[in-house]
């Protein structure tokens, strides 16, 4: 296996691409809301991106849990966890960016100390920490276990982030999918956005996982050589 692509992923990739295009088109053809003008069109991508960040971290937690669980422990789950975490960090960053871009016209500033925004920023740093743990040199399985625990505990921030809008009186939007809160076309655009972003996430995830697997294979191939060398130390000490 030289490429990390496969028919499956090509299909997903293609679908994601189409979805994103559609999303953009729909987004740009959304009616202008009088108070926000074209900025309201960000609704097509921003929530979707944020939601994918959640999804990614949930998957990380899942992978971590399955890795920690003795009977299901397998390198695969570690790969799932790390791949999803990295993609998730990217999505979180994008959430912060798109959010800020949206915030400038809406609130007049790039950033406000709104609970939702803060918890999102927190989420971002949390998973930077997760990646930092992974960079501490250690045997693969050791690294995996460490990371798994961190990845599991970190997940608490996701539901918190989701419910902030209810727990605090936030500037930030609440559940816009709740019936009657939003004009139909906005909802459709949001849903398409969700779909496209999720596909994109899946595509990235699979590729990142395969890279991880290739690396592991490389190591295991190196191992036989290493063992041979080690045994050679006996004759030439």
């Amino acid at each position: 296996m030289t490429s990390t692509a496969s028919r499956g992923t090509r299909v997903i990739g293609a679908l994601a691409l189409v979805g994103l295009v559609v999303t953009v088109v729909m987004g740009l053809t959304l009616p202008l809301t009088e108070e926000q003008l074209e900025y309201s069109r960000l609704i097509a991508i921003h929530p979707a991106i944020a939601w994918c960040a959640y999804l990614a971290f949930f998957v990380t937690a899942l992978g971590s849990a399955l890795y920690l669980w003795k009977s299901t422990r397998a390198p695969l789950w570690d790969h799932v966890a790390v791949a999803s975490a990295e993609v998730g960090v990217v999505f979180t960053a994008l959430t912060l960016v798109t959010g800020s871009i949206w915030g400038r016209p809406t609130w007049g500033v790039w950033w406000v100390w709104d609970a939702r925004l803060t918890t999102t920023a927190l989420m971002f740093v949390l998973y930077l920490g997760y990646l930092a743990v992974r960079r501490v040199p250690a045997a693969p399985d050791v690294r995996a276990t460490r990371a798994a625990v961190v990845g599991l505990l970190a997940a608490v921030v996701v539901p918190i982030n989701h419910y902030t809008v209810e727990w605090w009186r936030t500037l930030h939007q609440g559940e816009s999918l709740a019936p009657g809160t939003l004009d139909g076309r906005f909802k459709v655009a949001m849903l398409v956005g969700f779909l496209a972003m999720t596909l994109a996430y899946a595509w990235l995830l699979v590729h990142r996982m395969r890279v991880e697997r290739l690396e592991e294979r490389l190591e295991s191939e190196g191992l036989d050589l290493a063992i041979a060398e080690r045994q050679a130390e006996a004759v030439a000490p």
Partner: protein, 222 residues
């Protein structure tokens, strides 16, 4: 499990009683922090009285970090982890024991700090019951979460730097909830405060549960 926990907690507290590190170093540090905050926020603009709760819990947080680092510094040497593995003690017991010892020290710390903000920031402690309950639950959460990451970082040469990075964000929600609860408590409107207690309770339970469940794995395979 509980017996082992007692063995560990007893030993840690005895070491503390002898070396007095928490009382002589962490405690002054905590006080120092709230003084520094007062400095940095130049009080004449009347920020302090409003920010008191937040600053209090920030100070607790940072001192908690030190207390945890200390708790694993006494685990000696780079082979700390091997030592614990060979100690023959039940991992869950070790976790509970160390968390217990840390919690005990934190409680002392918080009492003094409370006096501190009362004096320095002139905060009045209305709703003491709420304050106490909050502090208790928050302390359990902090100690548990800290101990989990403490053992993860123990024996790594980067532990001084890694630990804060790991602990701070996961306990941030605790910080948050307890801050809100204390604001309510300090302003004497406990009503909304109690709702935050529930969240704190959830955290405390979660972290303790995770600790009991995962500590063995962490000790063994990490």
């Amino acid at each position: 499990m509980w017996r082992d926990a007692m063995v560990i907690a007893g030993r840690d507290l005895r070491i503390e009683r002898r070396s007095r590190v928490v009382t002589n170093q962490v405690l002054p540090f905590a006080l120092l922090v709230i003084v520094l905050f007062a400095f940095a926020l130049d009080p004449d603009r009347g920020v302090l009285d409003r920010a008191a709760a937040g600053l209090f819990w920030l100070a607790v947080l940072f001192s908690a970090l030190l207390a945890i680092q200390r708790s694993f510094a006494i685990e000696a040497t780079d082979e700390a982890r091997d030592g614990l593995r060979l100690s023959g003690l039940d991992p869950a017991g070790i976790f509970l024991g160390k968390a217990l010892a840390v919690a005990a020290q934190l409680v002392v710390l918080e009492v003094v700090l409370t006096a501190g903000i009362a004096v320095l920031y002139g905060s009045e402690l209305r709703g003491p019951l709420l304050l106490a309950a909050t502090a208790l639950l928050a302390t359990i959460g902090l100690a548990a979460a800290g101990t989990i990451y403490g053992v993860l970082a123990a024996g790594l040469r980067v532990r001084e730097t890694l630990l804060p990075l790991l602990v701070l964000p996961v306990v941030a929600p605790v910080l948050l909830a307890s801050t809100r609860a204390w604001e309510a408590g300090l302003q004497g409107v406990p009503g909304e405060g109690w709702s935050w207690l529930r969240i704190l309770g959830v955290f405390a339970v979660t972290y303790v549960a995770v600790g009991i469940a995962a500590f063995g794995t962490l000790l063994e395979d990490a």
